[in-house]
C-alpha cells in the first residue's frame, strides 16, 4: 500500500500565513501539519509516500528530504500549476506501481487512529467523513447506512453536517479513474467522485473515525488546531531557565533558549530553539513559540501561535493571536482578544474570543493597539502609537 499526499496547493484562505510556505508547512505544536500526516501514516506501517508538491515546494522537500528521518520513503511529484487535485492524482498514478493506495489531503492535522480506522473498516473505495460546524466549506455527503449516495462540494443549500475529510482508500484498479484527468481543467477529486456517485459508477463507503481530524480554514482556526496538536505530556527543558522562573505543567523548552529570571509559564506551552524570553514574561497555556523568538520584559502572551524569529517588545499584551515569522513589534504592543465580527473576502464572520493575526515580517512601532479579529498582511509597517483594525493588505503602511 502506498499513500499519496496532496500538498501542491497554497491554502489561500489562510493568507497571510501562506506567503512563504504552503498550508501544510505551517507549524502547529511546532511541527508542520504535513509531518503530523506523515507520522500518522508511518505509525500504521504506510511508509511508501508519494507527495505531490507545487506551491513553495522547496520548503516541503527541505523538511522531509527522502523521508528516511521520518521512517518513510518519500517521492516527490511536481504539480507546477494549480490544476486541481484530480490532476495531481493523475500525475502521481504512475508511481503507484500497481499497489492499492490512500489519498490524504496535505493540509489537515490527523493522528494515527484516523488512519487505522480507515484501514480497519475499508471495503472497496472508502472515504473518511467527519462532522463539521461549518459544512458549507467542504464537500458534504448524504449516506445510506455506510454507503455514500450523494456528495456535494460546498453546498449552497444546507444538507447535513457530515463532510468529506479528503482522506480515501482506493484499490489499485481505481487508479485509472484519475489517469484521464491529465489534460482537464482544474478539477477536484470531490467533483470527479460526485459525478461518479450520481451516475452510480462507484460504490463509495463512508468511515467515521474517532481519530483526530483538524482543519484550519481561516487564520483564527490555527489557534484551535495548534492547541489540539499540543498534546505534551511532560516537562522537557533543553535550554536554560534562570532562577525565580516558574514552569507549570507540560512546558517544553528547546536547546539554546534562555528563559530569564521571573518568568511564569503555564503549560501546555512549547518554546523552540535559540529563543530569548524575559525577564518577567508570562506565557499561558496552549501557546507555541517557534525558533529564535525574542519576547521582551513584562510581556503577557496567552494562547498564541508565535512563529519563528518573531520579536515581541517589552510590556506587550498578546492574547489568542497568531504572530507570523519575523514579525517585529517594538515595546507595548496591545493585542487583546474579544468577541468580534470579521469581514474577509466579502464574507462576514462572527467570532468568539479572537485576537489578532499578523503576517510575516511586519514591523510594528511602539504603543500600537490592534483590535480583536484584525488580519494584518505580510511586510506591513505600522508606525508608533496607531490603532489598527479590520484587515490590511500586504505591504500596507499605517501612519
Amino acid at each position: 500500500m502506498k499513500a499519496i499526499i496532496l500538498a501542491a496547493g497554497e491554502g489561500k484562505r489562510l493568507r497571510p500565513f501562506t506567503m512563504s510556505r504552503p498550508k501544510g508547512m505551517i507549524l502547529v505544536g511546532n511541527i508542520p501539519i504535513l509531518e503530523h500526516i506523515v507520522k500518522a501514516l508511518v505509525d500504521n506501517g504506510v511508509n511508501d509516500i508519494i507527495m505531490v508538491v507545487g506551491y513553495r515546494k522547496n520548503t516541503i522537500m527541505l523538511h522531509f528530504q527522502d523521508g528516511r528521518k521520518f521512517g518513510a520513503s518519500i517521492e516527490y511529484v511536481f504539480q507546477e500549476k494549480p490544476l486541481g487535485t484530480a490532476h495531481a492524482l493523475a500525475m502521481a498514478e504512475p508511481r503507484l506501481d500497481g499497489e492499492d493506495f490512500l489519498i490524504v489531503a496535505g493540509d489537515n492535522v490527523i493522528d494515527a487512529k484516523l488512519i487505522s480506522d480507515l484501514l480497519d473498516q475499508k471495503d472497496g473505495p472508502t472515504m473518511v467523513v467527519a462532522e463539521s460546524e461549518i459544512p458549507s466549506k467542504y464537500g458534504v455527503v448524504n449516506t445510506d447506512g455506510d454507503r455514500i449516495v450523494e456528495l456535494v462540494e460546498k453546498p449552497e443549500i444546507q444538507m447535513g453536517n457530515i463532510i468529506n475529510t479528503g482522506i480515501y482508500y482506493f484499490p489499485n484498479r481505481f487508479a485509472n479513474l484519475f489517469k484521464s484527468q491529465i489534460f482537464s481543467k482544474e478539477l477536484g477529486i470531490t467533483q470527479l467522485l460526485s459525478d461518479q456517485i450520481s451516475d452510480s459508477l462507484i460504490d463509495l463507503k463512508a468511515v467515521k473515525s474517532v481519530g483526530r481530524w483538524n482543519d484550519a480554514v481561516y487564520p483564527w482556526d490555527l489557534l484551535n488546531v495548534n492547541a489540539q496538536a499540543l498534546d505534551l505530556t511532560s516537562q522537557i527543558v533543553k535550554g536554560t531557565v534562570e532562577s525565580n522562573s516558574v514552569l507549570k505543567g507540560a512546558v517544553n523548552i528547546g536547546a539554546g533558549t534562555r528563559i530569564r529570571s521571573g518568568c511564569y509559564i503555564e503549560g501546555p506551552v512549547i518554546i523552540g530553539e535559540g529563543c530569548d524570553i524575559g525577564p518577567n514574561v508570562v506565557i499561558l497555556s496552549s501557546t507555541s513559540i517557534g525558533n529564535g523568538v525574542q519576547i521582551g520584559p513584562f510581556s503577557y502572551i496567552s494562547h498564541c501561535l508565535v512563529m519563528s524569529n518573531a520579536l515581541i517588545g517589552s510590556h506587550s499584551h498578546v492574547s489568542r493571536s497568531v504572530i507570523g515569522d519575523g514579525v517585529r513589534a517594538r515595546a507595548g504592543l496591545f493585542a487583546p482578544s474579544d468577541d468580534c465580527t470579521v469581514r474577509l473576502d466579502h464574507e462576514i464572520f462572527n467570532l468568539h474570543d479572537v485576537g489578532v493575526h499578523i503576517g510575516q515580517d511586519t514591523t510594528i512601532g511602539s504603543r500600537v493597539v490592534i483590535s480583536p479579529g484584525a488580519v494584518v498582511g505580510a511586510d506591513c509597517r505600522i508606525r508608533d502609537g496607531v490603532r489598527v483594525s479590520g484587515s490590511l493588505e500586504n505591504k500596507s503602511v499605517v501612519v
Binding site: S20, A255, G274, G326
Partner: protein, 596 residues
Amino acid sequence: MCGIVGYAGGRRAVDVLLDGLRRLEYRGYDSAGVAISYEGLKIFKDVGQLSKIQSNIPNWEGGMGIGHTRWATCGRPSKENSHPFTDCSGRIALVHNGIIENHLSLRKQLEEEGHKFTSETDTEVLVHLMERHYDGNTHAALVTALSEVKGTYAVAAMAEGDDHIVVARKENPLVIGVGVGENILASDVTAILNLTSRVIYLEEGDSAIVSANDITIFDAQGNRAKRDPTTITWSIEDAEKGGFEHYMLKEIYEQPTAIHNSLLGNLDEIYAGAIIPDIDVTSVKLVACGSSSHAAMVGKYIIESMAKLPTTVELASEYRYSPGTGENPFTILLTQSGETADTLAAAREARRRGCRTMSVTNMVGSTISRETDHVFYTNAGPETSVAATKSYITQLMAMYLLGLRLGTMRQALDRAEVRNISTELRSMPRYVNGVLDEASEIENAVEMLASANHAFYLGRNINYPTMLEGALKLKEVSYIHAEGYAAGELKHGPLALLDATTPVVAACVNDHTREKMLGNISEVAARDSPVLGIGLEDDRDLAAITDIKINIPTVSPILSPVPLTVVLQLIAYYVAKKRGCPIDRPRNLAKSVTVE
C-alpha cells in the same frame, strides 16, 4: 581532488567501492578504477564517468578491494594514468591521493633496476618501491617505501593473498569507518556514512592495517597507536538531493537552518566565553583560501569595528611562504573541510612563529581542528556542491560571533550594542528566508548576465569582499569571467573595460559609503553598462540609476553581507542554470583542495 575508498567485509566489494566513489564524485574526477581481491588480484579502470565503469566491470565477487577517482595533476587523464597501479608482477595494487615530489629520481633508479612503468604518474613509483621491499609483509613494504619518498599522500594498497588493506596518510585526509565484521576507509566521511557512523580520523603520519574484523594503527614512529572513533551525527540523507535539482540550490535553501545552528548556544554565551576563553589579544590575522578568504576579509571589517583590533587578512598559500614580522597576532584559519593543504601548512607556520591559533571549520575532527589551539565549528552540515554556500554563510556567522566575543572581552562594545547585534543575528534566518522567498524575481533579473562574457561586481566597505565572493561564485558555476572590485578603485583601471556588453552588479546599503557608491554606479551607467543593483527596498535613488534592482531586507550595515551573499549565490546559480552549466561539479574544480 582524488578520492580513495577501500573495503573489507562480507558485502560485494565492487558495489561498496562504486557506491563510495559516487559519493566522492563531488571532489571532481576524470577517471576511476578499482582493484578487487578475487581469484588473485583483479583491476578495472578507465577514463570517464563512474556509470560507464559500473556498466562495463566484470561480475567479480570478492569482499575486499580498493577504489579511486582521479583528478589529473601529474600526467594527463587516460586509462594508463588512472589508479589502481600494480607492480611489475601484478601482485600489489595501490591507490594514492597527493604528490610525490621526488618521483623523477626514484623512477630513474627503479627503471635501472628493471622495473617497468606503465604510466606518466608520480604515484606509480610507490607501487614499484613496495615491490622492491616486499617480503610477504605488505604493511612493512608500504612503510619502507614511504620512507623513501618526499611529498604528501593518502595511500591504500593490498597484495595478492592478503586479508587486509594497508593505508597511510601524510597531509592528505583519510578516515576509517568502523563497522561490525566489516571496515571501510575513504578520503572523507560522506563515502562512509552509508555503512557506519563510527569513524577514526588517522593522524598525521599514521599508517594502519585494515581487515574485515580488525584495525591496527601505527603512528609516524611505527609504534602501535590508539585512535578513538568519533561518531558522526549527520545521516547520509543530509547529503542527498531530496527532490532538488542541484545540491547548490538545496544548500542555498538550507542556509536559514545552518545559520540557526551555527548561532545556537553561542549567542547566549557571548559573555561566558563559549567561543574562546578570555585571552590577551592585541592584533588578529585571518588566513584562508578561496571563498573562506572572502569570509576572512568580511571578518576583518567585523573585528575591526566590533573589537577595535588591528586585523589583517592573508591568503594561506602566500602566508605560509611569507617572511613573518616577529609580531604574534592571534591567527585564525578558516577552512570548510579542515583539510585544505595550504591552510593546514599555514596553521603549522603560525604555530612555528609562536602565534596563538584558532580554526573555523565545518568538519568535526578534521586535521586543522587538531592542529590549532581553539576550534569553532560552523555546524553548516554536509556541503556537497563544489561552490561553497552554506559553509560560507556560517563562516560569516563565526566572524560575527568572534567579533562580539572579542569586542566584549576588550570592552570595545557596550552591552546595549551587543544586545542590538544579537537581536538582529537571532532574526537572521528570517531575513535570509525573506531573500529566498523572492528567488523567482532574481531568476528573472539575471537575463542580462546570462549572455555576457565578462561582468564586474562592485561594492564598498564590508560589501567589497562580499562582492568578491559574488564574482567568485559566478566564475565557478557559470564560467563567466567576473571581477569583484572595490568601487572606489573603478577609476584606476576597470572603467576602461566597461561598455554595453559588460554588465555590472553593484551593491549599495545604508552605510556611510552610500553616497559614494551611488556616484560610482552613475559613472558605470554613463558607460552604457547594464547595471543590476542590489539594495534596500525603499532605496529609490538606487532604483533610479540601475536597470534592474533586487531588494534585500533592511538590516544594520554590518550585517548586510548575509542577505547580500544569498542574493549573489542565487544570481550565480540562475545564470549557470540558464547557460546549462554542470552546476554541482564545475570543470577543473574540486571540493576540498588537498593538494598545494
